[in-house]
Symmetry: C2
């Protein structure tokens, strides 16, 4: 394989704990081959602009749309990615780079992103083959961005899309992200909180997400609280004393119905109760009745514990009196579609000043040539179809890719998260009803422009 470093000699020093990304180590969050390719482009003088596009080849099974998310972190990465001296030193020590020459390390040492970025705004629904982000930059620079951009956009897109489905299932009820501990590591939990808010969640249990983006932070109590007391009644009373306006009593540490009866006896307002196990269809109506009979008609019921779209939809369909759903695992790992598989593909390149379209024709993995734009047609306030065009073709309707970075400079402030959430909601409402149906959804119509189809066929024939 392409390179290997000594295992013995590279234990880190005392500074940053291992396993964390910081603004100063973003450069090396990269697959090795991006660096070897960049070195080889430089050596061969392949330094004119290349256009790469990020898109999804096909939707996960049973899905009918995705929601673009993660652009804010992508832009922050593009503004900050550098290669620090300790990183260059590490790379210099890798045998694979022995032939790369000093000029490569000089290049990396001075690297900052100076290209152009076009992207769909976060919260935009998109479909297979549609570029959601387009990079135009010198070939080596553009190549270096692949790993990070795919990683940051894929995950948030996956979670935002899942959250949109969960909120569709919940209808007028609230969905809350309780997933941090179930996400694939701490940063995934943080990003999931952001993306699930974009997709329509009311809030998150993740406090850092609250601080970073102003997302409402929400929480109840754990079983450990109840278990710290000799009596469950004491546990409930003691918590309420301190958080009279914010206590959600967790009912299922021992026996849900007995716990509901204990709560019902409290002679004060109880903001809510939570059920985290057992048969919700059986327990929720009983708990509601016990609370109502004791006059706690305003006490809200939160359900949690391995919920997903299907269970939420069933609860909603049965009209069970659940006010909020706390969703963990299913939301943050998107259980039914735990990978979105965005790809980053070369669409065209400049050689001697001339635009040269590029494509690959691998089995099932063909790509379309040319720098592209996406056009979305609307009729009676509903989106009806998209068309993917070459970016130089005239656009017959709204175009979805907007320039966000020009020559390395961010063109305007990105929208606040609450605005993105509202934009997402409006976009979702404009999709055809059949497309946002959770079971057996319709496909949304997407076509390539006649010219793009022509170019694709001719090109493929030439390559064959």
């Amino acid at each position: 394989m392409a390179a290997s470093s000594s295992l013995a000699s590279t234990r880190r020093g005392g500074g940053t704990p291992s396993g964390f990304l910081t603004p100063s180590n973003l450069g090396l969050l990269i697959d090795l081959y991006e660096l070897t390719m960049a070195a080889a482009y430089l050596k061969h003088g392949i330094v004119e602009d290349s256009t790469f596009e990020i898109f999804c080849r096909r939707l996960p099974p049973h899905r009918s749309f995705l929601i673009a998310a993660g652009l804010e972190q992508a832009v922050e990465y593009l503004q900050r990615v550098r290669f620090a001296e300790d990183q260059l030193e590490y790379l210099r020590g890798l045998p694979v780079f022995s032939g790369a020459g000093d000029s490569f390390f000089d290049y990396l040492g001075k690297f900052e992103f100076r290209g152009d970025i076009w992207a769909m705004p976060e919260g935009t629904p998109f479909f297979p083959q549609e570029p959601i982000l387009r990079v135009k930059a010198p070939a080596p620079d553009a190549q270096l961005l692949e790993t990070f951009l795919l990683s940051i956009l894929s995950y948030q897109t996956m979670v935002a899309s899942k959250a949109a489905r969960l909120t569709l299932a919940a209808g007028s009820r609230e969905v809350i992200d309780f997933g941090t501990r179930r996400a694939h590591g701490p940063q995934a939990g943080l990003l999931a909180a952001r993306a699930s808010f974009i997709g329509g969640c009311l809030g998150t249990s993740n406090v850092l997400a609250g601080q970073q983006w102003g997302i409402p932070v929400l929480g109840t109590m754990a079983h450990s609280w109840v278990m710290q007391f000799d009596s469950e009644a004491d546990a409930f009373r003691s918590f309420r004393e301190i958080f009279p306006e914010h206590t959600i009593m967790l009912l299922d540490t021992y026996d849900t119905i007995q716990a509901a009866q204990l709560v019902a006896q409290i002679k004060a307002r109880i903001p809510g109760v939570r059920l985290d196990s057992g048969d919700l269809c059986e327990l929720v109506p009983q708990v509601r009745r016990i609370l109502d009979e004791a006059g706690h008609v305003e006490t809200r019921i939160v359900a949690s514990g391995d919920l997903n779209e299907e269970k939420i939809q069933e609860i909603a369909r049965l009209g069970l009196p659940v006010d909020s759903f706390g969703v963990g695992t299913d939301l943050v790992i998107s259980s039914d579609a735990p990978s979105v598989n965005l790809v980053y593909k070369l669409a065209e390149r400049i050689a001697s000043g001339k635009r040269i379209p590029t494509m690959k024709v691998s089995t099932d993995k063909a790509t379309y040539p040319f720098s592209k734009q996406v056009v979305r047609f609307m009729k009676n306030d509903r989106y009806v179809a998209d068309r993917i065009i070459i970016d130089t073709e005239p656009a017959p309707a709204e175009t979805l890719l907007q320039q966000v970075i020009a020559g390395g400079r961010q063109l305007s402030t990105l929208p606040a998260l609450k605005q993105i959430q509202e934009y997402t909601r409006r976009q979702m409402a404009r999709l055809p009803e059949g497309v946002t149906r959770l079971q057996n959804p319709e496909s949304y119509p997407v076509e390539f422009s006649p010219r793009l189809r022509d170019e694709f066929s001719q090109f493929r024939d030439r390559l064959a």
Copy 2:
């Protein structure tokens, strides 16, 4: 729900980019309820030691073992977690904490972990109900650790376990982590590289993981490299010129067999070729023959593209001449089991100096009381059974939980990653053959000690 902050007012300043964890913001990577519970423990004077244990309730379907991983990052977290002034300020502004009082914020401001940690060494195979990490600390302190510890241990455990299965399937062939772009965000990619090395992978494409832990970094070339040239032959030749000892030619940009013929014509050593699409069972033997006939008998074949245990096992069973498997999505999201669901449960607490065992009896989610230890019995160099005992019971064989932190102080340096990988391999080799079988594996026998079973039954009867 329990709290909410103003959405308008909390856009972050210019310092750290949003969406990243840094050593200075670890404290808030926490579910809100850990903080409310900590505040309530303090108010009620519940500050004696509590023992929490992390374990897995049941194995994912079709799985027979898990590999403990992530302790290094857990220990680093425990050594570094603090609440900075800007974090305290954010928390003070949350309505839920209006009744918490200054003493809570004083407590957080001074917080550092001063308790005890016992844990299984990274790389230890474990089974349901067995604690893999045990915390003993004042109740509020121990509660604050739940979210982060679950997150960091669950993900690495999941990936290390998956990597162990992939390397079992591959037998004498190499498995390499190519998954960074498919992981759930950039940090997940970094952690996956570490965990997959523990589980037996030879190396990773993730360069930061190479720098941080000395993992061999490996890579080939992307389709974009080939597409940058007018001719595929030029693309191959140009890359080899710069990396004569490290070039792996990617064959499937246009036509795999034609590309193999181009490579075969090169009159110089070709380290390797990669096939990323198409029917490997059909293509690999043809490519091998083309290479061999041209004298490239030492050129290695790397296969990638949606590989998993089953496909790798099939390739190995058929004896196809694949030398290395590059695995992405399936490894880093552990497709067949994308969540491990570790839990953090109160096992006992001290009240007025007396040890009080605790348990919950929720449907399907009962827990066992008492601070526990795990004993592993060996016979003829093979592990034969485990027993979970109360930590005060005499241990009749090797015990798995070792103390790593005492009174907040790390007791010794943790092993280097290469040592952990070797330890894992030795441990795996000691498991009964039926347990490490990939299909229809046997269950490994785990029992609770008679005393623990007695205590559990009596306790449950008292609660019922």
